[in-house]
Structures are given as C-alpha cells and as structure tokens.
C-alpha cells in the first residue's frame, strides 16, 4: 500500500499535541484563549484515536476544565474568567466523560443552562445574547445525551427546526434559509441520528451531494466550488457514515490527501498540504483516517466524535458504518 511511503507520523503528532500547552510565551497562544476548551477536547480526542491518551496529564486537564465553570450561569467558558457558552460547555462535558470524571459536574445546573438556550422556534442559542445556529442544536442534543438527560428535551420542536433547514440539495444550513454546508450537514445529521429521526433526511440526494465534495486531488470541500480542507474529512465522512454511504468516497485518495497535509518536521496536520498545522485539523484529519479504516488507529464514533468504545459503553451507539480497519 502506497501509504507506507508516507505514513501517519503518530509519535510526532503526539509530541506536537503535548507541546501545545507549553507555548505560553507565544502571542498566538493567548490570542486563541477563546478556543482553549475546544482545543483541549480536540487534542485529547486525537490522542485517544492514536491510542496515546496518557500523553496529557489527566488531573491537570480536569482541574483546567473545572476552573472554567461559570457559577453564575451554570455553564463552562473557554478559559477561566471567560463567559459561559454552549460551545465550550460541550467540549468540557466531552472531556470529563472521556476522562471518566463526570462526577465533578453539577449535572442539573448544566442541563438547566442548556435547556434555557432553546428558542420558541426550536433552535438553540449559543448563550443569552441569542446567536442561533443548528450547530448549537446538535451541541444541546449531544450534551444532554451524554448526561443521560435527553428525556428533558422537547424533541419534536428540536427536530422540526432542523427539518426546516433542509435545502433543495438535500443538505442543511446553519438556520432556516441558509445554504448547505458540510459542517452544518454533519451537525444536523448527528442530531437527527441521536434523536432517531433519520427519516427527516433525503438520503439519496444528500449522499450524492456529500459524494461530490471529493475533488480530483482526493481532498474534500465543504460546499460546491470551494477548496479542499482536511477538516471536511471528518464532517463529510461522519455524515456519510451515519447514512451508511462511506463507500461513496474514494478512500485511498482521501487517505493520501490527509497524510500529505502532515507537517513532517514539527508534527501536526494542516488544512491542506504545505500549510501550517493546528490542533483542530490534526484532530479532524486523524478522526477522518480512523473512519477510513487507517491501520493502527482506534475507532471513533462519528456521531459524538469521541472514542467509539466509550460511546458504546454508555449505551449511546447508533447504526452508523465506517470502513473496516485495515491491517498494516
């Protein structure tokens, strides 16, 4: 297999992730504080997928998460003293669940915070300032599901809003009327999967639209006529997994594309070959490789974007299909 000439450089990516937290003298580290909680979730999940979760200290991580708890609102911010937001709240919950530390959480308060963000239309806001987006609907469904509190959700209202976001191409947008985008397609498919409402998806049309995201260079884009980007290796593939159409993509070409976006010197994966790596693309590139059956990786659950074995233990596994894990 040609991937032996350009393999996934696991030890290099592990040390890349370990070094991320050591850059406290870099301006960029501080300019991205608003993403810190997300970044830790991306780093942790990438390590789990590479079977190196021990590379980051568990106790330090849990302490960091809890230091971002916003006592006034009952949610998590991205960084200590940053306001609570649904984005960082999900990452915090995912980290705690992955680290088997959910006992540190005041579940009732977090559930209350999340439910308070549902709008009359059924969509969720990100915080009290009211920005709405189907991403936030997925976050609410994912988080409540992980916390065992899906029963508290008005499912009909939630599903009804997502259904109204369905477009002429079978895809979904960020809100009613918005253009289909692979990231939004992912969140809508995943929310509908968790809620057992895949009947709301026009599978033949959407799986066709998703298949056409693959470009001649093997990479995937997020919308027609846009550039390829490694992160779509996850958004598009995970969606196809939920629709049981992963075979619609040329997996060899996509694997080659992801591998060619690695930084062979410092480690990490970038959005496309030759660009600077970051933890976001490192995580989603590795997640995509896992769904494609790349050898030596651990199974990832495409619905939750967390270790598949963990999601299965929690009784939350749905009927998705990824490619068979290849032997070396």
């Amino acid at each position: 297999m040609s991937h032996e000439t350009n393999p996934l450089l696991i030890p290099l990516h592990v040390s890349y992730i370990q070094n991320l937290g050591k850059n406290k003298n870099d301006l960029i580290y501080h300019l991205t504080a608003h993403l810190r909680m997300n970044a830790i979730y991306w780093g942790l999940t990438a390590l789990c997928t590479m079977n190196h979760r021990e590379a980051l200290d568990r106790d330090e991580m849990i302490d960091y998460v809890m230091s971002c708890w916003d006592e006034e609102t009952g949610g998590f911010g991205a960084h200590p003293d940053h306001d609570a937001h649904i984005l960082s709240t999900l990452s915090a919950i995912q980290i705690l669940v992955t680290q088997d530390a959910i006992g540190r959480l005041d579940i009732d308060r977090v559930v209350k915070f999340i439910l308070s963000l549902q709008q009359p239309s059924g969509v969720f806001a990100g915080d009290s300032f009211g920005e709405i987006d189907t991403r936030f609907s997925y976050i609410a469904v994912n988080a409540l599901s992980l916390l065992g509190r899906l029963g508290d959700l008005d499912v009909e209202k939630t599903v009804s809003y997502i259904a109204q976001c369905r477009n002429f191409d079978g895809g979904f947008g960020s809100r009613i009327g918005a253009e289909s985008h692979a990231g939004q397609v992912f969140v809508c498919c995943a929310a509908l999967t968790i809620l057992d409402r895949l009947d709301e998806i026009d599978t033949p049309t959407l799986s066709w639209w998703l298949a056409e995201r693959q470009l001649p260079n093997g990479g995937l884009n997020g919308r027609p006529e846009k550039l390829e980007d490694v992160c779509y290796s996850f958004w598009v593939l995970a969606s196809l997994s939920m629709l049981k159409k992963v075979h619609y993509i040329d997996s060899d070409k996509l694997i080659s594309f992801i591998l060619s976006a690695q930084d062979p010197e410092g480690g990490g994966i970038a959005d496309r070959p030759g660009d600077m790596p970051d933890v976001f693309h490192t995580h989603f590139g590795i997640a995509g490789l896992s769904l494609l059956g790349y050898p030596g990786l651990v199974d990832i659950d495409p619905v939750y974007c967390m270790p598949a074995a963990l999601i299965e233990t929690l009784g939350l596994r749905k009927g998705w299909q990824s490619l068979e894990r290849r032997m070396r």
């Binding site: 608003h34 002429f168 253009e179 919308r223 027609p224 006529e225 970038a270």
Partner: protein, 325 residues
Amino acid sequence: MHGVRRARQTQEALEAKRLKDQSKLRDYLALSDDVLARKKQKDWSREALRATTQLLQVNPEFYTIWNYRRHILVNGIFPESTPEQIQDLLKDDLSLTMAALKIHPKVYWIWTHRGWCLNNVPSGPGVDGEGDPRGWEKELWNQELFVVEKLLDADPRNFHAWSYRRVVLASLPVSKPETSELAYTTRKIESNFSNFSAWHQRSKVLSSLWSTGRLDQTKSKEEEFDLVQNAMYTDPRDQSVWIYHRWLIGSDREIAVIQSLLEEETHSKWCMESLVHYKRLLLHNHAALVDKSALTRDCIHLLEQLRKVDPGRRARYDEIEITRL
C-alpha cells in the same frame, strides 16, 4: 487556522520574531487583564467601553469582551443617554464592526454584535404625530442592505453575509417584494454561474413565490429552465447548475423537458450522471410510456462511462446499477 503557508524559518529568524512578539504579548496581556478585571468589578463606565474597543480591535474573536461591551452599553451608558445619544453610540459600534469585518469577514462574534446593534435602535427621531418614530430603524436597516451587498460583492460565497442578508430582508420596516430579491439572485448568477450561494437563495425565493401564488409556477419554471440551459451550455462542468436543475426537475414530471435533455451532446460527467438520474425517473414514474429495456441499456452504458471518467465515485455507480435500475 486556514490557508496559512508553512514557512521554513531559521533559528535566528524565529528568535527575532519571538523577541518582537514579547512586547506585543506584554501589552496584550496587560490590556486583557485590565479589561477582565473591570468586568469582574462590573465596571460599566465609558473608560471601560474604550478599553474594550482597544482590546476588540486587537482580537475581535474574544467573545467574552463583546459580551462585556454589550453589558457596559445596556447597564451603564444607555440608561444615562438620550435616544439620540444611544443612536450615535450604536453608529459607533456599526463603524467598529464594519472595520473588523473588512479584515475578518467570517468571524461569527462580529456579525452577532452588528445584529445586536440593529436590534437595539431606539424609536426616533419622531414621536407621536411628529415625524417617523421608526425613522432611525429604517435608515439603519436600509444601510445594512447596502453594507451586506458590498460584502457579497467582495465575497459572493460568504455564508455569514448571506445569512445576515436574509435577516436584514426580514427586518426592514418596509419590506422589499420578494421579486426584487429574485432579481438580485439573477444579477449574482449572471455575473458568475458558479455562485451556488445565489442559486440556493433563488431556490428559497422561488419556493416562497410559488407556494404563495405570487408567481405562476408553470411560467416561472419555463424561464428557470431557459436560465439553467444557458448556464449549462456556457460551462457544463459547473456543478451548481446541475444540482439546481435536478431540483427543478424533481418537483415536476414533465416528460418533454427530460426528453430534450436526453439529446444533450456534451460528454461532461455531470451530464452523464444527470441522464442516468432522469432516465431512472422515467423508468420509475412513467413506465407505461417508455421503452424500458432501451432506457435500462442506456443507463448501464452511461454508468460504465461514468466509472471511467469519475473512478473515485465508482462505488456509488455500482450501487445504482445493482439496486436501483
């Protein structure tokens, strides 16, 4: 981060950059610490507002500071201000966000703050019987339409701008007719057939005009097919047009239209893929009216050609042949 090239830098160059960044970092941390300390103390003063302006100009992705800025305005400054003064303050924030959007046109937090400003415009300048109490709202919302058009000229695929455009259209105190939005999408499409965002918007506007009976669906579809066929001949490799065409056909069972497409002579993958789709529609929906074995043979032949020109997606073409002919 997106689209930032990896640069091979020497150790010396990296060290020089790090030293230069050290003073930037010190300044940034000092500013950030100051603003967050004020926030903790619920400092709603004008000085605090100025501090947030400075910080947001350096880092417009610092969402907590946009939140704090709104708290300062609502809790501290607005209560002490006349409606005219509030209007001026909001205009300042519109300038602030406009400058930020020119550099960062895809940052959610900036768009959200701009929308918040528009939603907080006070009544004025007129009051009961004396002038228009929605005058300021009208002025600012109309301006927003102009602003979002400029941003869509700069990047016709910016989905933040398109979403904001839909919000603006829905919020105009005096609504524009949907036919004028249809004309806007025509302009965008005619300037670039590959503008999927414009085709998407068109699909929404037309659906609304048809379902409310404001546009005759049959006549309108004829015009749509003309527009689409023109685009197909101009560039058969552009996928936007084929996806849009499938939606037009899908909601209409007019055999004649499908038959005329079958006489297409282009050999683009999109044409082949669409022919398979439409022949299958004929097989399934109009079985009594067609030569089934000829159509099935055509599909098999087309799928064979598709496997050659588009080998990456062969698994889907295999599946269509096995399960759905």
